[in-house]
């Protein structure tokens, strides 16, 4: 077995939390159940990975098989990478029948015609998701297994999720291969990025609980709310306002959990407006700003601002539109015309 393959397998196993190693090796299926029985999964990880490498040696593992294990790891722990969302377009209306074998063949051919040194692996999952792992080389160097890009393509949709890694120069090549293989015309990057792959899917496939805009906002229906503090000496100030905020929040954000995003960025090119009494800046040019919001769970965080008294309810549509518009990068310019207070996001 190649030394580089052995080292690669060793490092991949080391990434896996100790309690998960056995299950993941079983999913991989490269080592037999009998072989797995011989490994003591309670020893330290260093030793476990050495044992695994030893067994892989017996089975003469090659790089493709090692790459399989990497895909399985990344499928279970996708949040270690940053994912960007791309959308493909086709001109015609026809929905071609998706042939997986054709797709894989065309993809490999397209990629290999431009770059001989690539390792390409595919793995299909139940939800029509095709995972593609690509390790990039150069015309003169073998593929670097530690510099990989991942693609998750849901064949029934025009959406592709890409975790490109450092070699951004290979991105156009990758996009081209996807378009050709899937019979689309072109592909564009959406302004949507996150560590949480599932949340990106939720947003793009509209799987989160959306607010349904009703014409007459209905009052909150009776729910199983725990009884308020019975002590009559405690008076809730501003009870009406608190309830209004809750109601408005619920209308905007919906009832269910929010998709998990870590950041949102706004490039502001709007005018600075102030009270004329203040006698400050009155320029005809935009007041250029860059605003970045970050949080372990951004949308939940924004949702809690108004109840905490730090924001107005309703919160600005610039923030609440994130899931609907399926983007978290914005460029905001002043909308010219009738309503000077509103903004346009191209």
């Amino acid at each position: 077995m190649d030394e580089t393959v052995a080292e690669y397998i060793r490092r991949t196993v080391l990434k896996i939390p100790r309690d998960e190693i056995k299950t993941m090796l079983q999913k991989w299926g490269f080592l037999s159940e009998a072989q797995l029985q011989t490994i003591n999964f309670h020893q330290i990880k260093d030793n476990i990975s050495q044992d695994v490498v030893q067994l892989c040696e017996e089975n003469s593992a090659d790089i493709k098989q090692a790459a399989e294990l990497d895909i399985i790891y990344n499928h279970i722990y996708p949040n270690k990478r940053v994912w960007s969302v791309y959308q493909m377009n086709k001109t015609g209306e026809e929905t071609d029948f998706f042939d997986l074998t054709e797709f894989k063949k065309k993809f490999k051919r397209q990629l290999r015609s431009a770059l001989k040194n690539v390792t390409i692996n595919f793995r299909e999952y139940e939800d029509n998701a095709i995972w593609i792992r690509i390790a990039w080389g150069t015309p003169y160097r073998k593929p670097n297994q530690y510099k990989t890009s991942y693609v998750v393509y849901h064949s029934q949709t025009p959406y592709v999720f890409i975790s490109a890694s450092v070699l951004k120069s290979n991105l156009p090549l990758l996009c081209q291969a996807l378009v050709v293989a899937s019979n689309y015309c072109d592909i564009r990057e959406m302004e949507l990025r996150s560590h949480s792959l599932n949340s990106l899917k939720d947003i793009v496939f509209k799987r989160y609980s959306q607010n349904f805009q009703t014409y007459y906002p209905r009052p909150l229906e009776e729910r199983n709310v725990a009884p308020e503090n019975e002590d009559l000496r405690i008076i809730q100030e501003n009870r009406n306002e608190k309830e209004r905020i809750q109601r408005v929040n619920q209308q905007i954000f919906g009832d269910g959990p929010q998709p998990k995003l870590e950041f949102a960025q706004y490039k502001l090119e709007t005018m600075f407006k102030s009270d004329p009494k203040m006698d400050v800046l009155d320029k005809k040019e935009p007041f250029r700003c860059l605003v970045k919001f970050s949080s372990p769970h951004l949308l939940e965080s924004l949702k809690s601002l108004a109840p905490a008294g730090m924001a107005d309810a309703p919160l600005s549509p610039l923030l609440t539109c994130i899931p609907q518009k399926a983007r978290n990068y914005f460029k905001i310019r002043e909308k010219k015309g009738v309503f000077p207070g509103s903004f346009v996001s191209p």
Binding site: F293, S304, S316, L318
Partner: protein
């Protein structure tokens, strides 16, 4: 001579310095810097013997240098700044100048007249201390100074109020075309999911705003700082409906310098170094008094 000093000043730039306030030093003398270096060196060696080793494993020799930075002062009454540097010397070649600088700390006083004037004879006023390097070294050096000169070190935090002053002051400074943005970082920790907001304004636009707010050149009032910040807050509110004034301002970054509320500073421009030090000296003195 001038060049050497310019080099020393350049050394202070673009590093992260942790701030402390220091009470006046008793019987400190600028004439004895070499002796202090020797004594501090012996102290560090003794601490290592005691098992309070800073570097586990390899026995490395720590060399101490204490020098003066005469240009770093505001007025003639100010005490010249004192720089302490710790270097590691590899035992393999003790005479060979293979020295790696591992820690630096300097005391200074820029326009600290109102404190130094009130001090009795034997006391030296160097209220601001800046440290760069491992916390363990800072602790050892601090202990020695505290023991030797009967002084007291305390971490110097920077309040949001003072950070807004820095934002306003530094926005007003003239910088070249390639200046970086004025960045304000706000933190909202007490939510179920914490939130950080970075608000960066193009330096030309921020300066244009400040120039219309500041009425008297060379002078800044609290009111002007408030108006400036309110303008920035209301521009933000117009877009996002969030009240930045209800959040905590934790960091200010400009082309001049960057400051963090935990008491961490980075100087980026040598021409404004003394200006920033003057402000920090004032903060240190307020903390001591």
């Amino acid at each position: 001579q001038g060049n050497a000093d310019a080099q020393k000043i350049a050394f202070l730039l673009r590093k992260q310095w942790t701030l402390y306030s220091v009470t006046p030093l008793y019987r400190f003398s600028e004439a004895h810097l070499r002796d202090y270096a020797r004594l501090l060196s012996a102290f560090i060696a003794a601490e290592k013997q005691k098992g309070l080793a800073v570097e586990v494993g390899v026995e490395l020799d720590i060399k101490v240098a204490v020098s003066s930075l005469p240009d770093l002062k505001g007025s003639d009454q100010d005490q010249a700044a004192v720089l302490v540097q710790l270097s590691l010397r590899s035992p393999a070649s003790p005479k060979n100048s293979e020295e790696k600088l591992v820690w630096s700390g300097w005391f200074c006083c820029v326009s600290g007249d109102h404190l130094s004037e009130t001090l009795p004879e034997d006391f030296t006023c160097l209220p601001l201390f800046l440290a760069n390097g491992a916390e363990s070294y800072t602790s050892i050096v601090g202990s020695w100074f505290q023991k030797t000169f009967d002084c007291c070190f305390r971490r110097l935090a920077i309040s949001p109020l003072n950070l807004s002053w820095m934002a306003a002051m530094w926005t007003g400074c003239k910088v070249d075309k390639t200046a970086s943005a004025i960045e304000l970082v706000f933190s909202v920790p007490c939510l179920p999911q914490p939130l950080d907001i970075s608000y960066a304004i193009h330096p030309e636009d921020a300066k244009a705003l400040w120039d219309t707010v500041q009425k008297t050149p060379g002078e800044i009032t609290q009111e002007e700082v408030d108006v400036f910040m309110d303008c920035l807050y209301s521009h933000f509110h117009r877009h996002f409906k969030i009240h930045l004034s209800a959040t905590k301002l934790v960091k200010v970054s400009t082309a001049i310098a960057s400051a963090h509320c935990d008491g961490i500073i980075k100087f980026l421009q040598s021409q404004y170094l003394t200006g920033v030090l003057m402000l920090l000296t004032e903060l240190a003195i307020s903390q001591i008094q």
